[in-house]
């Protein structure tokens, strides 16, 4: 669905992507992780045509995003990190805007608004930040576009809202849609995102499904640091040790520990996951 080849992008002197290649497939919920400033938002913006790749190719759904063709735009929705709604009632906004998306379902929108507990008759400007976010997420999902890009969707949401968000995203995912969620609040979305993409300032460090990760790495909880550990992290009651999975045992992938181990052992991890 999304193919990125040899992407180069910079902001004045700051190079964000240098020869980055990436493939995203339909039917998946991708988690896009990376430290602040590494380029997660930039990547999402390049995918939806808000920014132009300086060199290299970006192909989404068979289109070149930067050309901003209506056919392309009708199959994609981008939810920015800080969305500020217009001075308009949410329902009215949805009805007017939904006309432009061929698969928009207004009933679904109303159901989601009810599930999110946001009043559709109030204006965006009268809603809190979290509620505005939930409203636009409800709208985005109701457009039934093939690609949904979310930039830090759980930011600013209270705890019950985060659970609502998880349930809603899970229900949304279909075999021909692709959802990309950029986040650094890993715990909010832990069991939802699969595959995991980790970016750093040099490009894509990792792009693998949870199954692949648990095949190659082991995340063990033990009272002390294991010798063979690639990375260890102290936690309540002991240590989480990340080692190569030599016994093909299955254990739960701890995404936070994965993130830290990837950053501390770039070359090793790249080697382990080389295809």
């Amino acid at each position: 669905m999304v193919t990125i080849d040899n992407l180069y992008f910079n902001y004045s002197k700051h190079v964000v992507f240098n020869d980055v290649s990436l493939k995203l497939e339909a039917g998946k919920i991708y988690g896009l992780l990376g430290q602040n400033g590494v380029g997660k938002t930039t990547l999402l913006k390049i995918m939806c045509g808000l920014l132009k790749a300086k060199s290299g190719k970006c192909n989404v759904n068979g289109y070149t995003p930067y050309l901003r063709e209506p056919g392309f735009l009708g199959e994609l929705f981008y939810i920015p990190e800080d969305f500020i709604g217009p001075d308009l009632a949410v329902n009215k906004f949805a009805r007017l805007r939904g006309e432009f998306y061929p698969n928009y379902d207004h009933n679904k929108f109303c159901r989601l608004m009810t599930e999110f507990e946001v009043n559709g008759n109030s204006k965006f400007t009268k809603l809190s930040f979290g509620q505005q976010k939930k409203a636009i997420i409800a709208f985005a999902i109701s457009t039934n576009t093939k690609l949904i890009l979310m930039d830090e969707p759980s930011n600013g949401l209270d705890i019950p809202s985060k659970a609502q968000l998880r349930r809603v995203i899970s229900q949304t995912s279909t075999d021909d849609s692709c959802i990309v969620i950029s986040t650094h609040q890993v715990r909010d979305l832990e069991n939802l995102i699969d595959p995991i993409i980790i970016l750093d300032k040099n490009g894509v460090l990792l792009n693998a499904s949870i199954d692949e990760i648990s095949e190659k790495l082991c995340f063990e909880f033990s009272p002390s640091i294991t010798e063979k550990a690639i990375y260890s992290e102290q936690t309540l009651g002991g240590y989480i040790n990340v080692c190569r999975n030599e016994t093909s045992r299955e254990c739960k992938v701890n995404i936070e520990a994965l993130f830290n181990s990837v950053h501390q052992n770039r070359e090793l991890i790249k080697d382990i996951f080389k295809k």
């Binding site: 998880r166 899970s170 995912s173 832990e190 069991n191 699969d194 949870i210 299955e250 739960k252």
Partner: protein, 111 residues
Amino acid sequence: MEFNEHKPIYLQISDTICDSVLTGEWKEEERIPSVREYGGILGVNPNTIMRTYDHLQDAQIIYIKRGVGYFVNSGAKDKIISIQREQFIEEEVPKIKRRLELLGLKAIDIF
């Protein structure tokens, strides 16, 4: 639903489903939620639920009726009990034995 740090998620969810069958919450020959429905209830990636259901199908605890959905197999309760008994004997009993030894206790003292 709380997920712990150790077992893969799909196995934890399997355990939850097995518990539901044992308690009678999910009855035999009755339809259970679809992959998407269940994922939506838990807020978990549908692929994970798919893995769970595959695992349960392999263990013959559930079966799929094409075009209708997933159902709890008849005799699932008994299967679960036997699987969990095996697990208990092979995994948990050795742990208890080791703890008893470490603490210098004998089984008679406890049971």
